[in-house]
Structures are given as C-alpha cells and as structure tokens.
Amino acid sequence: MGQKEAIQMKNITKRFGSTIANHNVDFEVREGEILSLLGENGSGKTTLMNMLSGIYYPDEGEIFVKGQKVLIRSPHDAFELGIGMIHQHFKLVDVFTAAENVVLGLKHKKTRKEINDSIETICKKYGFDINPNQKVYDMSVAQKQTLEIIKVLYRGADFLILDEPTAVLTPQETDKLFAVLNNMRKDGKSMIIITHKLHEVLSISDRVTILRRGEFIGTVPTTEATEQSLTEMMVGKKVELNIERPEPENSKERLIIEHLSYINEEGVKVLDDINFTAKSGEILGIAGISGCGQKELLESIAGLLHPEHGSSITYINPDKEDHISLLHMNPRRIRQMGVSMSFVPEDRLGMGLVGSMGMIGNMLLQNYAESNSFLKMKKQAKIKAVKVKDKLDVVTPGINTPVRKLSGGNVQKVLVGRELGSNPTVLMTAYAVRGLDIHTSHTIYHLLNKQKKKGTAVIFVGEDLDVLMALSDRIMVMCGGRMNGILDARTTTKEEVGLRMTKIQEDGGADHE
C-alpha cells in the first residue's frame, strides 16, 4: 500500500459573499487510504470537497493530483482526473433508469448490453446488487447510494469522495457500506469520507483531517485519536457531550393516536395503523429511516393531511382534562378549539417559515388570524420577535432581515423560538437539529428538556440514533409506514433500534412497557 500523496490542496480559500467558507485550507489524501474529513455542520467540509469535484471553483489556492498542478473548472474536469463525488443529496435523475444515470454525460458509444455488462462487473467486484433497468424513483435510499457509487466507479474514479454517506443508512446498512469501502481500499482506491460522526471515523478511516469554521485544524492518524480528542479539535474547546435526561414527572396522557392510517396522493399507504400515546413531561422519540412516514405522521396530527376514516387523534386538554378529536381539522380550526400544539417541521424555510420575510413577519405567521381586524397586527409580532431574538441569541442584522439570509442555526432558533413561545401542551419536532453545529444542537436539546420539565408532551423525530437514545424516554420505531415497537430508551440497544428500522418484528404493534 503506497503512502504517496494522491491529492493535495494548498492554501484554498472560498468565499460566498461576505462569508468565508474555507480559509487557507491545506489538505491531502494518500493513495489507498480512507481519510475522514471531520468537522461540524457549517465548518466547510462539503465546500472544500466540492472544489475537488468541480462544483465550486476556489477563489485562491492550488490543487495537485499525483504531484501535477491541475485546474478543476467543472465536474467534467474532475472525472478526467479520476475524482468522483457521492453527494449527500443524490445527483440522480428520478425518471431515468439506473443504467441511464450511470452513462449520463459520457461520450463513449456502448450498446445497452455492454453498459449493463460493465455495471454487472463492477457489482461483482465490490459486492453490490442493483438492477440496471430499475427506475430511480422506485429505489430505496440505500439503493440510490449504491447507484451513485457505481456511477463514480464506472467512470473509472480512483478517488472517491463520500459526503455524509451514513446519514440516511441504518446501522446494518452502514456496516455493509463500510465493507464495500474496505474492498475498494484493498483495490488501491483513495477515499475521503465527510462526516461528523466520531465512532465512524474511528472505525473505518486511516487518518482524520479536522476543519473548524472553514479553517484547517490538523490531521491525525486514527490510531492516535480518541472521541474526546477529536471533539476538542472539532469544536475548539472541551464540550460536555452528554445529553441530560430528567426523569418524567407526573406524566399524563396528552395525545392519543389510534389506528392512524394515511394514503397519499399517489395512492400509497404511507401510514399504516399507528397507535401511540404522548404523555406530559416526557420526550417520545421517533426513529426510522427517513421517508418511512415520520413526516406524514406529524403532518397528520398537525392537521395538514387528511388521514383515512377510522383513524383517531385525540388531544387531552390539561385544564379540564376533556378529550378533543383533531381528526380532519385544519391547523386554524385546531387552534380555534383551544388546542395548544406546536410543530417544528422538517422543512424550515419551505414550511415553518417565510424565507423572504424578517423575524417580525415570521412571528405573525402563528396567530395573525386571531384578531378581528382587517389589518395585520405588527406590534405584537415585533414584541415577540425581539423576545425570541434576545432569549435564544439569534444572530441577525435586524428583526426585519429576511430569515433566508440567516445561518441554518439561527433559522432554526427563530422557528423553535416562535413555536415554544406559545407554551404548547404538545410539541412536535422533526429533525430539529439537522444541519446544526454541536453547540446549537445542545441548545435545542436543552430547550426541549426545559419544555419537558414544564410538563409538555414532546414528540422528537430524529435520525441520529445516539441522540435519540440519549434524549428520549421512549422510542417508537417506524418501518415502512408501520410502527415497529415502542422501546424504553433507557434499556434498549442501538442494534435493536436499527434492526427494527429495517425489519418488521412479529410483535410490531406491541407496546414494550
């Protein structure tokens, strides 16, 4: 195995407007190694790699491949140098077949048969399994990722960049991916894995390069690193990695879901007989591969979707303890009935907020309809905006600056701040910490725990199993639109949750309490 430098980046700087995404970064990867590029969200990892794959062009700095200085002006240039990137958001054309996606943009003249044969050869060599004639929209997330890797290998790439490859995989699928990566390493290929998960770094890579706020911090051999040392390099100070989990107090039922089923516009049953109860003073985690009905579950409860008949959603008012059915009500009706429920959706700027408006306009969204006036009530919204800004330390040039221009963490603070401001009885959050740095993530966990202690029933849909297991009291696992057990988060194991994410258990619907 060679120790020669395969790719070197020197003094790379990249700006987007006034933000500096990468500042004088030095980076190198050797032949036949797996290198982890570690950093928090927003630390510039993806930007740096996008300059290797030709998506971005550096403002300053030089790139060398096998000692030769190169210019990478487009993805096409990158291919010619043998660099291929598997993006976090897959770059596939949904309406094309696997084979069509593989040959997209290539100039050679091969027949369909020859193409399928080449794909098969690659599959055999590294242990993939894919049908070249399957359309992408029929594929699972793991299949799409496999297709992306095949696409890159088909182009003869020697250097593979994988951006957060495990973010959408179950622990079992992750193991499979790592086995493939090890195969490729044996084959002499170099791989860069962008990630922020420490245990993965330690288990797969040879060396780790750490970025912090767009700057190069250092490179260490994995054998010399520990979770604690890596975290310190990544965050820059000692951080408490533990998430607090207070014991639930005085739990009372707040939301009862029974036989909830939902069929979407395409006629697919995306929710199938879901039953659970959310209780005050506890956090109910919901685990599952993304797209297994979590989104539809929360949207059904929030009144955005119309579940099938026979479903039942019951809210229990804490004042009078009376039962209110939320079935087939829109969000405004739900609010008018005195239901105090908040919802932090997954799509922050596309659903929770209005990107082109400032904080004031976004505060207005929650209850602008409550007054009887024809005019909009800006005054109260302004007071609210100032309150959220001060309380959560939202960094913004002004409360009228369009929220789209804020950083991801601050956008989420505006959204969470607004939703918590109404002191909800039930709080639902979907991927509340996605894309946020460690510090902001912990702020959010802290806010959720505070709500829990106040007696709110919190529903937390998450993707990071470590977080789910540390924060929740109970975890409901979803699999293909069905519930696959509710586990006690204090006693269950990660493997158990992972297994239930992919395979329906015989006791699927049963409650494990």
Binding site: R73, L304, G350, M351, G352, M357, G361, L365, Y368, F374
Partner: protein, 362 residues
C-alpha cells in the same frame, strides 16, 4: 496542463447598496436609450440626438399629446396594479388582456342594450357588470388552479383569445355593413362618462391613482395582503399556518380580475366610447413586465408605466411622420428597453469577478 482558468466567474451578492442598484438600473436604461437611438437612426435616418427631442415632443409636446400620454400611463398602470396581487401570489396571470376586454365588453353591452336607463343607474350598471365579468374571467382559471392545480399560465392565455373572439363577434354584429365600428350611442351619448376639470382623462387619472394607493395598502398593511405574500412564497408554509390556500387564490384572482374590469370600463366609457379586440391594446402583456420590474410595489409601477408609455408614444410620433408603419416600431423600442432593464437585474443580484485582474495572484 494547458487548461486556462475561467476568465469570468459569477458570484451571488448578499446585499447591494441601494444607490448602487439604482446606478446599475440607470446605466442599463442609458445603454438602452443609445441602442434605441441607433436603431431609429438606422431605419429612418434621424440623427440620434434628435430622436429623443422628437420623442419628448410626441409624448409631452402639446396638451393633446400630454393628455394622451397620461391616459395611457394610467391605463397601463391600472392593469399592472391589477396584476400585482396575482403575481405576488406567484399566480402567472397572463390573461389581463382578456380580463380587460371582458370588462370593456360588459360596459359596451350595457351601453348598447340599456341605453334608455337614467344616467346614474346606467353608469352603475355599466361599472358593476364590467367588474363582474372581468372578475369571472379571472375566476375561472383561479378555480381550476385552486382545485386541480391546472397550469394557470396557459389557461389565462387561452382565455384572452376567447375574450377576443367574443368581442369580435359583437364588433362585427354592431358594425353591420360599415367598414369599422364607430362610436357607440353616437346620438344619445348615453353611458359616456362626464369630463371633470374640463378633461376627459382626469377621471381616469383619479380612479387609477386611488386604486394604486389602495392596492399598496392592501398588499402591505392587511391580513389578506399578508396571506398573499405567504402563499406566494410557499404554499406549504401557508397551509402550515392554517391558511385556506384555495380561498386565497380565488379571492386574489377575483380582485385582480375586478381591477382589470375597472380598466375596461374606463377605457370604453371614458375614452374610446367604442370597443374592438384592440381595446386592451397589448397592455395586458406589457403590464406583466411593469408589475414584475416594480417587484409588485404599485408606487414604483407609476414611474415604470409612465416611462414605457413615453417610449411608445414617442416612437409612434416619429414613425407616424413616415407613412406605412403601425405600432410595430414602438414595440421594438419597448422590447429593447425591457431587455436591458430586466437583464440589469442580474448585475444587481450577482457579481462578476475577472480572474486576470484579481489581486494576490501572480
């Protein structure tokens, strides 16, 4: 490796100083004016310096021209104002031409068939029917958009031609054997709007002025205006906030159509006293660009509308002197100007960087 660095790179701006963006716009307008002068020089041979003197003369040279320019500015503005709420909602209403015609037609129908009614009643009936028919014209595509998400761009476009054909039908019917349809109610002048301040155009200016202000307030200060903005930004956000998106779409298009109806009414009853398929005069399309350029701010539309009409009237004045040309030259001139002005938006939103001149590079 013999590859060269890219010469020019495009970067998104985060912010731009107000004065700078206006400087860009002024520069683009200046550039367009030069191109237009060259164009006019090339085809007619008028010295480029004289072009704008002549144009000025044609638009503001005497009281007749001046009134004409004001009237058409008000007309263009009125339609742009009507489109503002629809476009703010990202509803591509390309059917203003037809909606104005619908209003004009309703007005004419009442003028012709109810001319014996007492004047006040006649006016009210004309006005109301114009608004109602135009609103219906806007409503039909809106309902299909709201209920089945039918593409509104083509739907509204086709509605234009439906309106044009119906107007043609009545035009030919009323025309009879004559070569053209003259003034309606020639003898009785029933349904002709009164002049105020001794001017036929004054009432139009007044009405459109009030509408412009009202629409500004509606969009910026009311809850309904807020709903329009949210729906335009993201339908999902609107639903999340509990808005009835369908209701907002339908209501907004009712308003948009109704204001177009006012324009049709004023054109027939106040100015033309006649109708033809050209009663909207292509303003239904030009106004879309006026509304878009003004970023749906009705106050800014005043200036843009005035400028466009100045170009139109000015060019027509020049080409009128040379027989054989219709309004086509003014369309070219307006087209050139709009290309430059909309192209300029790019330089306001993005920054170009030229690698060769970059600092810190050898």
């Amino acid at each position: 490796m013999n590859k060269k660095e890219p010469l020019v790179r495009v970067m998104k701006r985060e912010t731009i100083a107000g004065w700078k963006s206006w400087l860009f716009r002024a520069a683009s307008i200046a550039l367009a004016l030069i191109v237009i002068a060259v164009f006019v020089f090339a085809i007619i041979g008028i010295s480029p310096l004289n072009v704008y003197t002549l144009m000025w003369e044609g638009a503001f040279g005497n009281s007749i021209y001046f009134n004409d320019t004001l009237f058409f500015t008000a007309k263009l503005l009125c339609i742009a104002v009507a489109l503002a709420p629809a476009f703010k909602m990202r509803f591509w209403n390309i059917g203003a031409e037809g909606q104005v015609l619908a209003g004009a037609l309703a007005t004419s129908l009442i003028m012709v068939y109810c001319s014996s009614l007492p004047a006040p009643l006649l006016y009210i009936l004309m006005f109301v029917s114009a608004i109602v028919l135009s609103a219906i014209w806007g409503l039909i595509p809106a309902i299909f958009k709201a209920k089945w998400n039918v593409n509104e761009t083509l739907f509204t476009l086709m509605m234009n031609y439906v309106a044009i054909q119906i107007v043609n039908y009545f035009y030919n019917k009323w025309r009879g054997a004559a070569s053209a349809l003259g003034k309606l109610n020639k003898g009785t002048k029933a349904g002709y709007l009164p002049t105020i301040f001794g001017s036929k155009e004054a009432l139009m200016l007044l009405v459109v002025g009030v509408l412009t202000i009202l629409m500004y307030l509606y969009l910026n200060k009311t809850k309904q205006g807020y709903e329009i903005a949210v729906v335009g930004e993201s339908v999902n956000t609107a639903k999340y906030a509990g808005m009835d998106v369908k209701k907002v779409v339908v209501r907004t298009m009712l308003i948009s159509g109704a204001v177009c109806g006012v324009c049709g009414f004023m054109t027939v009853a106040g100015q033309d006293h006649s109708i033809s398929s050209a009663s909207a005069g292509g303003y239904g399309f030009t106004s879309i660009i006026v509304a878009w350029l003004a970023k749906f701010n009705t106050m800014v539309m005043v200036l843009i509308a005035l400028f466009v009409v100045f170009l139109e009237k000015g060019t027509n004045h020049i080409t009128d002197a040379f027989a054989g040309f219709d309004d086509s030259a003014s369309k070219i001139v307006i087209g050139i100007m709009l290309f430059f002005v909309i192209g300029c938006e790019f330089f306001i939103n993005y920054k170009l960087s030229f690698f060769r001149f970059r600092k810190g590079e050898k």
